[in-house]
């Protein structure tokens, strides 16, 4: 299990009201399960589905918890463990691998002091691998949150990380 520090002033678990609201927006009791899971995950402070959230979704959609867990655990984009504020995904497929994915990944790992699947102790970054980002025309590519970065070098990838660190530190002294 991944040890996650509790971030100051951040609500770790989502409230029932918030999940209820998401489900209502997506069509109520008949809301499509996969879209509910993604929306709840997106809204969760640590971008994962907690056990409490799984239970709540099952209750509101009137399906078994087992059904919810079965679907949630199948998909790579759904996490059942807490994640950092920024999600870094390194594309692992052949076009990126041939273009130097391993060096890029190692540069990130060195810079952040974590390996794939881990979260930095300050809770800022989680590093994951991903299958084909559809960015083979600019391999090696990574995605940080919703943004693609391509044609990376071991130097440029560090400046990408720095830009997220600065953003996080905006206004801090």
């Amino acid at each position: 299990m991944l040890a996650m520090p509790i971030m100051m002033g951040m609500d770790i678990f989502m409230g029932t009201a918030e999940i209820r609201f998401i489900i209502k927006q997506l069509g109520g009791r008949n809301a499509p399960l996969l879209q509910v899971l993604l929306a709840v995950q997106d809204a969760a402070p640590q971008r994962y589905l907690s056990e409490e959230a799984v239970n709540e979704i099952a209750r509101l959609l009137e399906i078994s918890r087992c059904r919810v867990y079965s679907t949630a655990s199948f998909y790579s984009e759904i996490s059942l463990e807490p994640r950092g504020i920024h999600l870094i995904r390194v594309c692992t497929n052949a076009p990126c691998e041939n273009a130097g994915k391993q060096e890029i990944q190692e540069a990130i790992e060195r810079e952040l002091g974590i390996t794939v699947g881990q979260t930095t102790t300050d809770g800022l970054f989680t590093l994951e691998s991903v299958n084909c980002l559809g960015a083979c025309f600019m391999s090696p590519a990574i995605k940080v949150d919703d943004t693609l970065y391509g044609n990376l070098t071991t130097e440029s990838v560090v400046s990408v990380l720095d830009s997220f660190r600065k953003e996080q530190c905006h206004g801090c002294k």
Partner: protein
């Protein structure tokens, strides 16, 4: 513009986003108007004469699929645009959707009208958030312009189109797994028959087509099947989008008429291998495609010719490896990919890939013997022939083709020590 500046289906320009106004100025939505004026059968006949085949990989005749749904007596039919582009090395659908969203939406609207469907989904992979955003905005815009939703262009025809996000499963590109996914279950494939055209989403007749296929439809209806047949060859009509990547000077998306050879695609559009290097092998059709040596590149991009040569056109991904690249790590990369994406339902795929992964790891660490290579050949056959769905069947393609064309690299990877041991044994 494509070859000789002849107008093609997409006429891609890398920088341009074609908004609704521009799309209509260029003839967009004239196909829908035309189709709404004439009996649906005429439009279906037009698609049939055009010879349009599915661009997602299976190359099934599109008009026949539409007819199958149309002729199904059951009401409450669905149309689904398969935008779960996950095939490694492929980025064509991403491009169409981010640059020409209205051509996709018009294509879906036409397909839905011809198939008699009033509800539709675009199943977009979760890794493409910007694509989902563009499509959501475009759907809204089309609805406001009366091109989608209730009473399309005053015809009384309706189509409710929604975006459905995938969640990171390659297998959900398989049509029945995609249906399971929308229904809220694990994205595992179902037994066929019944085919989705008979019993698809929520057991209703469902038309599922790839993004590129659907985006071809408006052009065919607008310009006629004669125009469409004038591009490509008698065997394979129209154009194909090619995602070109790997060791070439110029990587990117190109639209080519069918009939061009793979060598020409790599030379003309990719500007060949990097200086001082030669093309050693080419992976055609993405991770699920084959790995072929340079001498096979004279084969034309044509369904029959490729099938004869054992080449899978698949999604149209071409990934080039030059003479500095060893084959085995590339095959291993694919095996690891499929092992991760295998849903675990059937044994040949789940366990076969696991064993193939073990053998390839052994080969790459110099711990394998020639008997391991023989065993790998047997596993490959089992994976290809006994897997439940297309994922497993395709997973063996790169293994089988590389074992055939690059056998010496497998043998060379067998450790010398192990070889000696085998000889004395």
């Amino acid at each position: 513009m494509g070859v000789n500046n002849k107008e093609l289906v997409f006429n891609i320009s890398r920088e341009e986003f074609v908004d609704l106004k521009t799309y209509r100025e260029r003839g967009g939505y004239t196909a829908l108007q035309k189709a709404l004026r004439q009996p649906p059968e005429s439009s279906i006949q037009e698609l049939k004469s055009a010879g349009l085949r599915g661009r997602g990989g299976a190359a099934f005749p599109t008009a026949v699929k539409i007819e199958m749904v149309r002729n199904n007596g059951e009401t409450g039919r669905y149309v689904i645009c398969n935008a779960d582009e996950g095939e490694p090395g492929t980025f064509k659908d991403r491009f169409i959707m981010t640059h020409l969203p209205f051509q996709v939406i018009e294509g879906i609207t036409l397909a839905a009208y011809l198939a008699g469907a009033e509800n539709g989904y675009i199943y977009v992979r979760h890794e493409y958030p910007e694509v989902q955003r563009i499509l959501r905005e475009s759907i809204k815009e089309a609805e406001e312009a009366g091109l989608l939703g209730e009473d399309i262009l005053g015809s009384g025809i309706r189509l409710k189109l929604e975006i459905f996000s995938g969640a990171g499963s390659y297998l959900c590109g398989e049509e029945t797994a995609l249906l399971s996914s929308i229904e809220g279950r694990k994205g595992r494939p179902r037994v066929k028959p019944p085919y989705p055209t008979q019993s698809g989403l929520w057991n209703k007749p469902t038309l599922i087509n790839n993004v590129e296929t659907l985006a071809n439809i408006p052009k065919i209806i607008e310009k006629g099947s004669g125009w469409y047949r004038s591009i490509g060859t008698a065997d394979s009509t129209g154009t194909k989008l090619i995602s070109l990547s790997g060791d070439v000077v110029n990587r990117g998306l190109i639209e080519v008429p069918f009939g061009i050879t793979f060598a020409d695609i790599i030379e003309e559009y990719g500007l060949g291998a990097k200086p001082g290097r030669t093309v050693k092998a080419v992976n055609i059709g993405g991770a699920s495609g084959v790995l072929v040596p340079g001498f096979m590149l004279e084969t034309p991009l044509e369904y029959t010719a490729c099938a004869k040569a054992g080449i899978t056109i698949g999604s149209g991904a071409i990934f080039v490896l030059d003479d500095t690249r060893p084959i085995l790590p590339n095959v291993h990369n694919r095996v690891k990919f499929f092992l991760h994406e295998s849903c675990g339902k059937c044994t040949p795929c789940r366990e076969g890939l696991r064993q193939a992964n073990v053998i390839l790891s052994k080969l790459l660490s110099g711990m394998a013997t020639e008997s391991d290579v023989v065993l790998l050949e047997r596993y490959t056959r089992a994976i290809q022939e006994a897997s439940f769905c297309g994922l497993g069947q395709a997973a063996g393609n790169s293994l089988k083709s590389s074992l055939e064309y690059f056998h010496e690299e497998y043998l060379a990877a067998c450790g010398q020590e192990c070889r000696d041991k085998e000889e004395t044994a």
